[in-house]
Symmetry: C2
Subunit: 284 residues, 2 copies
Amino acid sequence: MNLGSCSKQVMGMDWSKRDGVSDISSSLCDFGDQCQFNVDFSRFVVVHGAGSFGHFQASKSGVHKGGLNQPLVKAGFVATRISVTTLNLEIVRALAREGIPSIAMSPYSCGWSTSERNVASADLLGVAKAIDSGFIPVLHGDAVLDDRLGCTILSGDVIIRHLAEHLRPEYVVFLTDVSGVYDRPPTDPNAVLLREIAVDEDGKWSVVKPTPQSMNKQVEITVAAHDTTGGMVTKISEAAMIAKLGIDVYIVKAATSHSLRALRGELRHDIPDDWLGTVIRFSR
Amino acid sequence: MNLGSCSKQVMGMDWSKRDGVSDISSSLCDFGDQCQFNVDFSRFVVVHGAGSFGHFQASKSGVHKGGLNQPLVKAGFVATRISVTTLNLEIVRALAREGIPSIAMSPYSCGWSTSERNVASADLLGVAKAIDSGFIPVLHGDAVLDDRLGCTILSGDVIIRHLAEHLRPEYVVFLTDVSGVYDRPPTDPNAVLLREIAVDEDGKWSVVKPTPQSMNKQVEITVAAHDTTGGMVTKISEAAMIAKLGIDVYIVKAATSHSLRALRGELRHDIPDDWLGTVIRFSR
């Protein structure tokens, strides 16, 4: 994301103490007038899930099922938000330390709410204004109020789709811990990486690359079998809905050169053969 | 705040690990059906300042003076928000551990902004909705966007006044580290606690109790001399503006029986002689 800044010094933006040790002085000594700082970033939004944060608190109390008038659900709502905002703060700090002007925008407090789990209100203006001000908004999966259920969990994947629908980014990158979408669980030694998936008008999707004839016939069946496991299939279906808007989606392994190329927009016109990941596109 | 819950068990609402030690199990073992939990709280809003958080980051970079297009100000804006939201999260967690359903509502991300340092937009609906849902919103002094200056610092005192103006609470309590407002710095052994201050139509205020005749003549002059030091005088002038709305303001030492009585609303009709603190009232 930090385009063209390789030769420039990074200005750390987390000046808080960590575990009692202050890194303020090391940040501040970079502040001489002679330094060239790069603060012109691409216009980006970061959305993260809860990982190991939040899920325990939410499932233990049933926040996702609603019923905010029940003491346990209410306590779980508070506990879930504490957990996910703790993670959010860590992510904002990690980005800031690398010189990325990240700004926490916690969905519940920014006015995101749902109606029977569908987004009913969202803070699109706040996100757009933060981007226009040169910041990188950092949103996350969160516990929110639901006007029918009382409360529920709004996932990061749904937030991304909603933002994509309304802010119309050039492209969307899903960062995961595997190289992309496979025809079967990636732990299977025979798993084949699906390099390109096309989504049609009806939202149906098919594998374009590798070509169907070169592949094992079982692909579609195997992928369908994943449905019950959630995880990746939720990502693919949300990704397919984004692709239907004409916005390319890249699913790629985080912290690799492949993810960097995707984030930098190098794949917009053409997917190089040596790029490892899955692109999901609308087929007109 | 936890009215009438003395005999009931407190349901901790922070289920996150602290310093690697989990207190989840001890929280969860309280969840038996036989337990009576009190989750009916008074309708309250908590607003806190930055204390030792935020001030360094803001003043070092000049966030309060604006100029968001300058790299240092922009970095300072990010650093200030990280610092104040770190404190906010700690306060939300501390309240949650005591069974108070606290919800972080960070002003910047909730859409608060200013125009030449005056509040231009505020998330009153979000705060009201959180209260109606049974939560205690926790706001704080924050770095915000300013449509003239680019950015500035919105203080907790200004947030309280704005909320009071629009949400019309029954009363407002300022918690400080001294017993109230004194006629001179409270470190002075001759300092006299001003027990009641009246504010008139014009916003001018005068000491009602102790009666002026019983007091040293220098009071007004001494108080005026504090003006340059900021701190308490800012609080008093914001408090006076709230009192002018017909809303009583109590300035009291935190974590004392006096603050508890103020928070519980026991002073609404009558200030007992043994109550230690300052009440600021509108004199019609």
